[in-house]
Homo-oligomer: 507 residues x 2
């Protein structure tokens, strides 16, 4: 189509009639089709800047449409600045730099091949380096996913329904209470009795998942460039959050007693934050010893640092009750306790919470309400009832038995490999085991072969900040059905045996 | 209680019997009370480091409790490192620096008076400076809250119930799809037809509210210290997010045509991000003119900057259809479109979305799944049906009528003041009006008096980054019932008249 130089546009009626029959415009109401066709012509320069439209009466007649329908389209284009009305003179195309060959907007158009240049920032690239591939999975060996097949969905849906129905209208609006009071009380009681956390309901801040808690902590208590000490190996989700907040990550090795402060690399700046999973280190499964806990509290005090205690799956301890939280070990400990409902309920729920020292309650609550906003109050109320009515404890007990049994199944399936030297982590707790490997090539080969089998294997070396990490596999067993675990475990044992046999033959 | 120097602790049985009767320990099971009493004694030094406990057989007998119950407590303390068993010799208090007078943990204890020093970081203080007081309100004059009394709750609850029941199990797990496909499709259709956004469903990324979208954009596309150009006056929630991400905020004045790039302060660095609300500027209510839109797109192109288009309430335009989005104005525009469901549905829902250029889809999706995690898939599916079944459009139409009527009520209530010179914004759209004031003292006095009346008045000067801002009031009228608006409006008119009269008399 060549642009029409004419300052008037009497040709519009006929051409527009044809245009409206184009398939791309068909599904829309007529006034919308008129709008889009005219706008397309203006933007492409077919209707030249400054040209006058035929009168609406004539145009409507030429098109065989109602004048009001046409006027709606024209008014919209006037409101958006594509057309101008000059009193007494008519309607004109605005005098703007249109007609650069720009393709008109079409509602069904696929996006252009030539996308704008999309360079991420350095921060964005750094964040991305902590992100796995975009495919999520669940089933055998995916770490961190609970037994969704055993979650009491009907009961939970009943609670949701009741609380959605009964929620006060104000709960739909913006809130700044730190969460539904009943939930903060229920969590507080649970934490005091089951986790020996020292708290009052006021100190609990409900957030949309533990990740949001980490973000809030990082932004409120640290500045870019500050050091955060992290467990090595450790949890990638927390690593990513702290990286996104511009913190300098200092990996501190974990041994059989947990984070070992004696092995902080020499010459390090004092940390602002120290991130730990003391009850059940992720991913190694180690419980931090009491001497290490006391030393850690002392170090935080000495450095004026805050300990971020991520208590992600401590409910699931098989031999005895869960290990008491670091937070409650001493009075006025410099600890922010982070809890999640992703493991006991389910990850898609997006609810977690912080237990804050008194002095941080007000600023954190204000900042959270501004930066992240509060919400899901009916779901929070349902969760409160789930806890106070005893469903939470009951579900934890059942899942403890379920996970213990699933771990046993996995161990049995892996037994032929273990008999030949494969080393597994102790596993008195939690939802995963670690298989330690001697060799990165074997780690890599197993991951590749597993992918071919549709099994998602997490290489342990990926949990290290400082490369190369120790090779191994993080084997989630909680979220898969029994038969899946057995099948995947047996497959893994055979693959390991064949690879190790091959490696031995190579020597 | 003085510490007992004795290396054996035969006194424990009797003393423990007394201790268990303390009211603070009463509500718990016996093994838990034993655990806490013993742990308290160890931590306080009453049971000295290295001292030997009586045999469990004797201790159980002295206490009159079952031996298994006692052993559970002891095993827990061994697991947590407070006690040690030495084979053949018995159970000993661990040799650790206990006994510093530390108060033992008590489940009912209120937190200590002496809280740890809780200094926020400079970043934290900066974030806080963008946060209002912690009290949220709704009702007359609270901006941004929709008519919650008119939301079709029963219908919505029915949809929620169905989709919660029908959600595939995998939806409860971690997801990396960018949101439920049906919702991305429904949003995409809506945006193309109603907002002239150019997109395909793949480009839509569902997030937990627009705020989370701003955070993701800031972190993926900018580095600390980069400049963000912001509308002045503008939206505090976005200001806070960009401040939290370490960006340097450059306020750019808004006039009757929207953001005026000609008034960027001289000598500014090129922006990385430009945040705008072109359809209905927040809070002034101005629509950005087409020449300004074209200039803005060109400037973004020239600077290699990204425009963040926050289209928070454009659905509610009274005279004609909503103004088309900036995003769809040209092909391959450097625009990230940010939408929210907080205004059409309700804020507590916590759902929003981004429309990303193709090249940013994969990295944003990966980073979002890692940093924020996806969730609420059943709610997303319910929302998809709410849109495709036409409830969304119907509700928007009803709310448009409702808000137009409520705005008219407010204008009528304020008419006596307007007759004496109070200037209101045009208000062809949206959920709030601005009353421009001449005088900061009057602004301040009105806010104070309103608070006394339980009315939440938002001072316009608080929306400015550069102080002192222009005085005025942001008057939300959408979220209050008709009679509340009338009452609050009449009150405001009277107060304004009396203050202006007093000010005139002062001169």
């Amino acid at each position: 189509m060549e642009p029409l130089a004419s300052r008037s546009a009497d040709w519009v009626g006929e051409a527009l009639g044809l245009e409206l029959t184009r398939p791309a415009l068909q599904p829309q109401p007529l006034n919308r089709r008129l709008y889009q066709a005219l706008r397309g012509w203006i933007q492409s320069g077919r209707l030249a800047s400054g040209s006058r439209l035929p009168s609406s009466r004539r145009l409507a007649r030429d098109l065989g449409v109602g004048r009001n329908t046409l006027l709606e389209a024209i008014e919209q284009l006037v409101a958006e600045g594509f057309l101008e009305t000059r009193p007494g003179a008519g309607t004109f195309v605005a005098d703007l730099p249109f007609g650069t060959g720009e393709a008109p907007f079409e509602p069904s158009a696929t996006p252009p091949v030539e996308a704008p240049e999309a360079a991420l920032s350095r921060r964005g690239e750094r964040v991305l380096s902590f992100c796995g591939p975009s495919e999520a999975s669940h089933g055998a060996f995916t770490p961190g996913v609970p037994a969704l097949d055993r979650f009491p969905r009907e009961l939970w849906q009943r609670l949701l329904k009741h609380h959605q129905r009964d929620a006060p209208e104000a709960w739909l609006a913006y809130r700044t209470q730190g969460g539904v009071p009943a939930l903060r009380e229920a969590l507080c009681d649970y934490l005091r009795l089951s986790r020996s956390v020292r708290c009052r309901p006021e100190q609990v801040l409900v957030v949309q998942g533990a990740q949001q808690g980490f973000e809030l902590i990082a932004r409120m208590l640290s500045d870019p460039g500050d050091a955060v000490w992290l467990e090595e190996p450790g949890y990638g989700g927390a690593q990513a959050c702290f990286a996104a907040a511009g913190l300098a990550s200092v990996p501190v090795p974990v041994d059989g007693e947990g984070l070992d402060l004696a092995r902080v690399p020499p010459g390090q700046a004092a940390p602002r934050l120290i991130y730990v999973t003391p009850s059940h280190q992720y991913p190694s499964g180690v419980t931090m010893s009491l001497p290490r806990r006391l030393a850690l509290l002392e170090a935080a005090e000495a450095h004026g640092a805050w300990i971020v205690e991520d208590d992600y799956d401590s409910e699931f301890r098989y031999g005895q009750r869960p290990i008491a939280a670091l937070q409650g070990l001493t009075e006025a400990a410099r600890v922010i306790y982070v809890g999640t409902l992703s493991k006991v309920l389910y990850p898609g729920l997006r609810l977690g919470y912080l237990v804050l020292p008194e002095a941080l309650v007000a600023p954190f609550r204000r900042a959270n309400a501004r930066l992240h906003r509060e919400g899901q109050y009916a779901v929070q109320a349902a969760l409160a009832e789930f806890i106070t009515a005893g469903h939470f404890s009951r579900h934890v007990r059942r899942m403890r038995d379920c996970y213990r049994a699933r771990q046993a199944l996995l161990r049995r399936a892996l037994a032929p490999a273990v008999a030949r030297g494969l080393v597994l982590s102790e596993g008195q707790a939690g939802m995963h085991l670690v298989a330690w490997l001697d060799d990165r090539d074997i780690e890599r080969a197993l991951v590749v072969r597993a992918t071919e089998q549709g099994i998602s294997l997490s290489p342990l070396s990926g949990y290290y900040l400082r490369q190369p990490g120790r090779p191994g596999l993080v084997l989630g067993y909680a979220g898969a059905r029994d038969e899946e675990i057995v099948r995947a475990g047996e497959w893994l044992a055979q693959e390991w045996l064949s690879l190790v046999g091959a490696a031995a033959a190579d020597r």
